[in-house]
């Protein structure tokens, strides 16, 4: 059997779209490799997560539950998953390239003595071998590799694979780890929620980003207002490194080579020049809009729709127009 195992990111008991996208990618791969799709989910009080995972298109859900695993723990989750993996005949293991996926998958891969592709944007099954394509050099090039070891492992970039719902509910198999909290060395003591409830940058369908053209931190509300105009939970706010380094915005909002790489449907760059390191973080957006007062700014070379103008004039007008359009 060549099963495809999906490790769910069910942080806080919630299953978000990137996990469902990974299941979707798994279903496609399983059809080619003629295997089943098995989801492994780790946490505590997993009933609501299981309900959602059951309907995601997988054949089976293995739910590892323990109070010791309520918060994410790299060593704990890896240990727990290593206990169930031998029974799953995994030919491939997939997970979203989320904060959890980035930390957990390399550990599993090291323990399984195999390779892994991180942040994959495409998966392949050719001549009986699994492979993947991923952006390298911050998206300036794409690297295609095939796996020489088993299992094949990959974390998947959000917004690149299609989530779909299953026709039949998967069977849920409950499991408990053999160890307790005392086996964990690094412990999460606190999870501090961000001050606002905006969608995380990398999951957002719309990103509105601001740069030095905003002139001062107190003007950034123009960028936030435009993001809000798209409606609740729709748009995230991003920033160029120049304004992050100046202390106007937190580092978590930085888009680019040394910040976050985003691939939303719509990216709106406001007062951002379009330096190569910034382009690296957003050039795969489906549509790019640029607002800059300099018609020669490099951002216009990649912008599907450019407006040459002053952000202080254009942003309020655009915010009003988007708010009106969203209402209809």
């Amino acid at each position: 059997m060549s099963n495809i195992v999906i490790i769910a990111d069910a942080r806080g008991g919630k299953v978000k779209r990137p996990t469902l996208e990974a299941v979707g990618a798994g279903v496609d791969l399983a059809a080619k490799a003629s295997g089943q799709v098995i989801i492994v989910v780790v946490g505590n009080d997993l009933a609501p997560a299981n309900d959602e995972l059951k309907a995601s298109g997988a054949h089976r859900v293995v739910a590892i539950e323990s109070p010791a695993l309520a918060n994410y723990s790299g060593d704990g989750y890896a240990k727990a998953i290593m206990e169930v993996l031998p029974g799953l005949s995994a030919a491939a293991i997939l997970m979203p390239h989320s904060a959890m996926g980035k930390d957990l998958m390399p550990r599993l891969s090291a323990l399984l003595k195999t390779g892994m592709v991180s942040d994959a944007t495409a998966l392949h099954f050719e001549g009986g071998k699994f492979g993947a394509t991923k952006p390298v050099h911050a998206g300036k090039a794409y690297l295609k590799t095939i796996a020489e070891q088993k299992p094949f492992m990959a974390t998947l970039r959000a917004n690149n694979f299609e989530a779909r719902l299953g026709k039949v509910a998967a069977e849920v198999q409950a499991s408990k780890p053999s160890f307790g909290a005392d086996a964990l060395k690094a412990i999460v003591t606190e999870v501090v929620a961000a001050a606002n409830d905006r969608v995380p940058l990398q999951e957002a369908k719309v990103v509105v980003a601001g740069g030095r053209g905003l002139k001062a931190p107190e003007h950034f509300h123009l960028v936030e207002d435009l993001a809000n105009a798209f409606g609740p939970g729709k748009a995230a706010v991003g920033a160029s490194r120049a304004v992050v380094d100046a202390g106007w915005r937190p580092h978590r909002e930085q888009v680019g080579q040394t910040g976050k790489v985003v691939a939303p449907t719509l990216y709106i760059a406001c007062g951002i020049s379009g330096a190569i390191q910034h382009l690296a973080g957003m050039r795969t957006a489906r549509y790019i809009v640029a607002i800059n007062k300099d018609a020669e700014a490099p951002i216009f070379k990649v912008a599907d729709y450019g407006i040459v103008g002053d952000v202080f004039e254009v942003l309020p007008a655009l915010t009003a127009a988007i708010a009106a359009a969203v209402k209809h």
């Binding site: 390399p106 550990r107 891969s109 050099h137 060395k185 501090v192 489906r286 216009f300 599907d304 040459v308």
Partner: protein, 250 residues
């Protein structure tokens, strides 16, 4: 306090990437190579911890070819005590084999803390920290953006989706460093002179084959050339129309 820092030589972030004739790697012609930006945070944090402890040593290690010697000298000039070049013998390593080679070396030296950058900006793998931690049997915090060390226990903060995670992690431990952790120092003239006398050891890396094979390196399709809709607030109407009718976003 014995600290090991892993660093990698990578193309500068403003480099233009061209594909070499072999079709699987970048053409190094005209590319400027630098220490991976995230590894500078790792070196700085190691130096700060050693200075605060008032004792110990910082060893910087890289797996690569002889040309990685320059970034090792640079870290010695920043203040590291010793550098080690693990000669890769021309093997094109992936994350699996890099971690195995580095772990094989680190196991032979005392290490209370191992620092790595969160990601090397060449292949953007973002794997080495947790991999190495698993191989060395160390607890690990990846992408640490804030660190305090007290009584041999780290309190670390890392960003997750929509929140911050606070992690308690006892030594020995492995930390991967995120931007925001510190402001890396520049080497001064005294440091540069001192670096010339510091040990830079070269040893052959363990012979381990990569687990993945590169099929191709390709450039992404060019985006269609940009289109300017107009000037000022007057162009907003056109933009909203385009978003609604062409892009179908609204």
């Amino acid at each position: 306090m014995n600290i090991v820092v892993c660093v990698k030589r990578v193309p500068a972030t403003d480099s233009k990437v061209r594909v070499a004739a072999n079709g699987v790697s970048i053409d190094p012609a005209g590319v400027e190579y630098v220490i991976n930006p995230f590894d500078e945070f790792a070196v700085e944090e190691a130096l700060k911890i050693k200075e605060a402890a008032g004792a110990g040593s910082v060893t910087v290690v890289t797996l690569g070819a002889a040309d990685a010697g320059k970034i090792l000298r640079d870290t010695l000039a920043m203040g590291a005590d010793k550098a080690v070049l693990l000669r890769d013998g021309g093997v094109p390593h992936d994350s699996y084999s890099t971690a195995e080679c580095l772990a094989a070396y680190i196991k032979t030296v005392p290490h209370d803390i191992v620092f790595v950058g969160k990601q090397a900006v060449d292949n953007d793998n973002n794997q080495l920290g947790p991999r190495l931690a698993a191989l060395l049997g160390l607890p690990c915090v990846s992408e640490a953006a804030k660190l305090t060390l007290q009584d041999r226990v780290f309190t670390a903060e890392r960003e997750i989706e929509g929140a911050r995670e606070v992690v308690r992690c006892p030594l020995p431990a492995l930390i991967s460093t995120q931007k925001g952790l510190n402001q890396p120092r520049y080497a001064n003239l005294k440091g540069i002179m001192a670096a010339k006398k510091k040990p830079l050891e070269e040893i052959d890396a363990a012979k381990i084959a990569p687990a993945t094979k590169v099929v191709s390196l390709t450039l992404p399709p060019e985006r269609p050339p940009g289109k300017i809709l107009g000037e000022g607030a007057a162009a907003v109407g056109k933009l909203v129309d385009a978003l609604r009718n062409e892009a179908k976003i609204l």
